[in-house]
Symmetry: C2
């Protein structure tokens, strides 16, 4: 392992601003800020007019529909204000990750108070007009959602589906050694699985070369309609849990008695200072160790347990029932403010309890002494360029992928493991981009045969080491992130991308469904940011799904499900790309494209097993650029006449089967004009009106003919091909073979047979579809059926595939014995050994 | 809350068998069992012949392809043997949940040694023939998968995707007060999110009325290619973590030195006795407290940290590299056993190290003194009837759902919140089935308006209580299980169903994608068990997806994704059912059907907001039984002639829009013959050859006509309708409107407009599709477009929908002011308040 290429990021010293105790006067001022933020939050939920209550509150000032979530908001506002104090005191570069993202009004209010909001949205100005607009736009048609969202300045974290605050924060902090993420974890989301494991992220962080995550567990005690688990296990067990996760917890409780607010602020400032002092100490020790060429042991990073009432400062009681400190504060506590005098009165009292007249000037602007608490413009969390990732994005320095081409003397004339070849290119991507590119995977990077990357980097690991680790590529800093949690990998990568860096996620195809809902949310983020002018494009989210469903040799039915592609195709066309490169050179070309692209989710499915190489690099580049194309050399067309049938394929295994079928047809029915089409870019099958990559009807017919039968062998569920080609396939002439749910322990070729996607069945399909052959070639058809029976019987008897199948070659004269490329050409034989889950 | 209906299960006293120390002789015998199990495990991975090595080992005895996972297997075998001793000593009723399910060979071996395997699979007999078959079938075509699987006796837990061992085990133990689940958690899977949060299940377990989960963290240190996190944080942090999770950890380490095996067994037996004594003590205290009408505080349940080498007892070194105790033992350590003399020799040595000649008699049968260690037949974990859930399943006593019907004086003549109505029936289902029916939900049961259930039961909660909880339906035993983790809810419910009970999962539609991959695995389990004779049918997995995508009033884009239906439809037809009841009575009828059904995954999407009632109960029953049908009263057909157009709908909101469109057409184009079709059972749209519920072409044409245009308004992504109706829709005449990905904060009706699924657009579609109208009704078409513009403008200005839309009624004379039913008839107005996430 060369260490030069992954040398630590040059790191500036961690700021060690003085931690002076919070004086009474400043505490009082901070309380004003907090009141202002709370006031603006309540205003967003309820008001559409009379923003500073300069007239008596009337029903017509209340929105028709009261939406949003109050419960978590005051706590967020409190923490944001205190983070600001620390930023100013210490000169921190910080971001704020809002786990309880339903508290959107709070983040909007805080960033408005900092001035950032009005800078970005001039219509939401710092005056009465702007205040009114601020209030009306919230959870309103044409306005903004009630959650923290892409529209919120400083956010990298959508507050919709919960559970990813810590993994996003850690992802954001990798290779950001000068930054800190104040990360609020809701006690509701803390119950989710992804959040529960994401605390362990601290074993994957290098204290010197990465930034800092300060988790703040916002223990407000209630979810929608239940208490939270972590609020009800006692401080002792909670403390144990946090220590078990590798943190040193600092407990803070406020809001449950009538303690003076100044004192509350002073106490919390001291708690935050304690945490930040501990962090500064860790950073200093790490820097000193690095200076001396050493490393510190994994520290117990501080974290804060912040126990305050749900709906803090809100109405104590509503309709005779406890509101503050109860789940009844979760959403809109005074739901009938427009309908009943009592609620209207309570709302008025509540709003006036913040004394807006002391906070805003005549014009509706926040008073300057309060505004003065905001950090210097460039240190505002809401203006941290990392949170608008595209702003700090630098393109990768990509080595020319053509230099990594495998030699293809003739189609099928050599054999490679495609992902292993890709690994050699990725190795050099890492070398050339030591600080802004990482590979994520749930313990499968080696299994997926990207091992070459370990020539130049390591798996980042900062837990214990044992002597046996000496020959394992592990180090406290490295470009590969592996934890057996797809959620964690996805969350880390999203955080890394959202802050302007690059990466890929390699995983098993069947289990990538684990993050279906996470990628949903990321795809929506991308879609929305496309429409937000100030959000700059970020690098695409790239999936490499190797260990795909057709090659689950070590595993059973549970490892089979190609539906992630279907899941993604339901997302907006402008976001999603799906590639099925059939061999090594096309995989190289595809991934080069993916790493250059922006704002997409790229799904690449590619095998890791030895596979024939079909295209030279020049051909691969042309083919991938086209996205699909006719493979002349494989067909038996006659120039100037229509083919009789099109054999189409998408995916590495279907490509082999289609070619094997084409070869049988060439030998058995030499006068049949067969066209072979391979599809790399699945979106090309759509109509041009449906997807930016789609084909015109004319172009589609140019490739698939006008009314001839098409037999299509596809990697995934067959329906997707019908769906994609629907507008083009006017006569339902496309016949698709693909993956069907079949529980089976089997050899790979037998799996194809069970799914009717094998060469013999494809030949039968052709016979059945090209009318005249039905009778003319009844004997060939029966022979194919016999071959299938024989192949299955052999597999059942011998536990491996028929030699004719496993040793099949397109070119009978090719010499595939090149040991460096592997010796096995067929999909139907695996190399055994420790490479599969 | 009535307590009679949920009175604790009658509970037999927990067995308090003596915990005598393990004698030397018995320890030696247990070691023989362990050696036998390990021998049989290695044999399964490598051998196809010469099962007891009575001839010299030859290459031809080795399988052609070596598959499976050795690493975790010996540890599982060790634990299984010790569990057996405890079962026998104490008379426990136990099951074994294998988290590291890749260790399939171990469970097969252990259950073979107990005799169960041969009882179930007579061909795998207890003799030389059976041993050979046992070995060959493993990971072999036509045989069994390499994981713990439905084929494995005693398993309720597929060893494919990892992370669900604890949630399955807890689900199995709810209402099983006399049982214990020895639950092995792999240290790999322990890194997954779902597993990390599932430790908290102990806050939802009643020590008296539920069974016991004894977690055993199998800390063998390595995953596929990495160390595990929990093995590298030190015993102190690991102990803290377990205590934080609410457990009392007991640490055990063995296998890293040359300690005598007898001593190892004696030490572990003492550890297990310590844990089981603690459990017996808790159970005794809980029983005594119950006797006195009291409850004990949540105890710190014991758990065991079992630190042993990966590939324990396997080859120490292979090719000069450490194997035992390393990730290199994960899968098949001697991958070249058939190809190299060295590996063949090593394998021979390894197999013989277990001294099979001492373990099996002349005929190949395990020696009786070893077999004698197996528990009494009825106590064998592999024969526990609960693990073959259908065997202990009793049908629910279902109150007649007709009695809960809402009154429907005319179509649309009354209004109900469908899920609230369903709640009244579920309340009585709970009353009548106090011990075998539970409702699971991630904090949304009240939000989804099933509150009536709280009249008779509580949310089961065994963490701390505070005085404020008095008016919250929480109790240490209850039928509703709520934790903010979809994974946990799904895992619990699966475990509950797999052990022969009934339940439902209610959730937000968009976030149910969180468990996409879990339901995949469950659906596969169902599919495979359909083909395994001895597996009895279990109750269906029922989803109630309320808070669906069209009504995310409080939330934003992140809460919108109807793709779970698409995900499920990719599963095998015989497993999946999808229902979209359009109103309260159809929902009742649908759910009655779901709770009676077996071996399905039933997805029911139904709204919780006030919704017009369309069908009387009699009509609803007929309609649901048909699955789809013509709504005569809504159309303008003339008997004996073909309609001009079919307006079809599936889903509650699309139904309203189709009826509103039909009403406009009736008024504006009275001579147009419109047929209105409503679809409840989505699978009915398929062809009869594709799904058991599918229609024949003739029946399809009977409903949708032969060649007239169909305008179909659908709840989800429109493509699914095309896909389902593909074989029927020969002329591409079905035009579908459905959900499209659109980022928006909006009113409900505006969301429909953005998706072009609103009434005005549907009318335009009809005009466009019924040829002659294109010109004849250009002015109506333009008026519809104007209405849409006006409706949107109103929503943007007022933050609510146009009164004509929000107060729309089908029957203008209906009096919808019944306060008990809610006063709002349109989808376009929500009741605000604390009912939405």
């Amino acid at each position: 392992m060369s260490s030069t290429s992954t040398s630590p990021t040059p790191v500036a010293p961690w700021p060690d601003g003085a931690a002076t105790p919070l004086g009474e006067e400043q505490a009082a001022l901070m309380d004003q800020w907090w009141r202002a933020a709370n006031y603006l939050s309540v205003g967003q939920i309820y008001l559409k007019d009379n923003p500073l209550l300069r007239e008596p509150l009337q029903r017509e000032h209340i929105k028709a529909r009261l939406l949003g979530h109050w419960g978590t908001t005051p706590g967020l506002n409190f923490l944001y204000a205190h983070a600001n104090r620390a930023i100013t005191d210490r000169g921190l570069h910080a971001m704020f990750v809002t786990g309880p993202g339903h508290g959107g009004p709070g983040l909007v209010a805080s960033t408005y108070l900092e001035g950032t909001y009005s800078e970005i949205y001039p219509n939401v100005s710092e005056d009465l007009h702007g205040l009114k607009r601020l209030f009306t736009q919230f959870s309103f048609p044409g306005g903004i959602p009630s959650h923290v969202a892409p529209e919120t300045p400083g956010s990298i974290h959508e507050g919709g589906e919960l559970g990813y605050a810590l993994s996003h924060a850690y992802g954001a902090m990798f290779d950001n050694p000068e930054q800190i993420a104040f990360t609020v974890v809701g006690d509701g989301e803390a119950e989710s699985g992804p959040l529960a494991t994401s605390w362990h992220s601290n074993k994957f962080l290098n204290p010197h070369t990465d930034g800092v995550v300060l988790p703040i567990l916002h223990l407000n005690g209630y979810k929608i309609a239940n208490p939270t688990v972590l609020a009800r296990i006692g401080d002792e067990q909670l403390g144990d849990l946090m220590r078990g996760y590798g943190h040193e917890p600092i407990f803070f409780t406020a809001g449950f008695d009538d303690e003076d607010r100044v004192s509350v602020h002073q106490r919390f400032a001291a708690v935050l200072d304690e945490a930040l002092d501990a962090i500064a100490d860790i950073k200093r020790r790490a820097a000193e160790a690095a200076e001396a060429g050493e490393r510190i042991e994994r520290p117990a990073w501080p974290m804060i347990v912040f126990r305050t009432p749900k709906g803090w400062t809100g109405p104590k009681e509503i309709d005779g029932k406890k509101a503050e400190g109860s789940w009844r504060s979760h959403q809109v506590p005074l739901a009938n403010a427009r309908d009943t005098d009592e609620h209207l009165h309570d709302l008025d009292q509540w709003l006036r309890s913040y004394r807006p007249e002391e906070l805003f000037d005549e014009d509706g602007r926040i008073r300057p002494e309060i505004r003065g608490l905001a950090p210097a413009p460039e240190l505002r969390m809401s203006a941290n360029p990392s949170t608008n990732g595209g702003e700090v994005l630098t393109a990768l320095r990509l080595p020319d992928f053509r230099d990594y081409a495998v030699d293809v003397p003739s189609p099928g004339g050599s054999v490679s493991e495609p992902t292993r070849v890709l690994g050699t290119w990725l190795r050099d991507v890492i070398t050339d981009n030591p600080h802004n590119f990482r590979i994520f995977g749930p313990d499968e990077t080696a299994s997926n045969r990207l091992q070459a990357v370990y020539d130049v980097t390591a798996k980042q690991w900062n837990a214990e080491y044992v002597p046996d680790d000496a020959d394992d590529p592990m180090a406290p800093e490295g470009r590969v992130m592996e934890m057996l949690s797809e959620h964690q990998c996805e969350g880390w990568l999203e955080g890394y991308l959202l802050t302007g860096r690059h990466g890929l996620f390699n995983s098993y195809e069947a289990f990538i469904h684990i993050i279906d809902s996470m990628v949903n949310q990321h795809a929506k983020w991308l879609k929305v940011t496309n429409e937000i002018e100030w959000r700059r494009p970020i690098a695409s989210l790239n999936y490499l799904l190797s260990s795909h469903v057709w090659r689950q040799d070590h595993n059973g039915f549970s490892h089979q499900d190609p539906g992630f592609i279907d899941h993604m195709v339901n997302k907006k066309a402008e976001i999603v790309r799906v590639y099925l490169p059939p061999d090594a050179n096309t995989l190289l070309s595809t991934f080069d494209h993916c790493l250059r692209s922006r704002q997409y989710v790229n799904v690449v499915v590619a095998g890791k097993q030895p596979n024939p190489n079909w295209l030279t690099m020049d051909e691969a580049v042309t083919h991938c650029t086209r996205g699909l194309g006719i493979w002349d050399w494989a067909g038996t067309e006659v120039e100037g006449t229509d083919p009789d049938v099109v054999l189409a394929c998408a995916g590495d295994i279907p490509t082999i089967e289609v070619l094997a079928a084409a070869k049988i047809l060439r030998e058995e029915v030499p006068d049949l004009k067969v066209r072979v089409v391979n599809v790399v870019d699945l979106m090309r099958l759509q109509d041009e009106t449906e997807h930016p990559h789609g084909l015109s009807q004319k172009a589609f017919e140019g490739i698939f003919g006008e009314d001839i039968p098409v037999v299509f062998a596809y990697h995934g569920y067959p329906w997707l091909i019908h769906r994609l080609a629907y507008r083009h396939d006017r006569h339902s002439r496309v016949h698709v073979r693909g993956y069907k749910e079949e529980g089976t322990t089997t050899t790979p070729f037998d799996m194809l047979m069970r799914n009717d996607t094998d060469r013999f069945h494809l030949v039968m399909d052709v016979i059945d579809r090209v009318d005249e052959l039905g009778t003319r070639f009844a004997s060939l058809r029966q022979r194919m059926e016999d071959e299938r029976i024989r192949a299955r019987a052999y597999a059942y008897a011998h536990g491996e595939d028929l030699p004719e199948v496993s040793q099949w070659q397109w070119d009978d004269n090719a010499d595939l014995a090149d040991p460096s490329a592997g010796t096995i050409a067929s999909p139907a034989t695996a190399t055994t050994g420790g490479d599969n889950e």
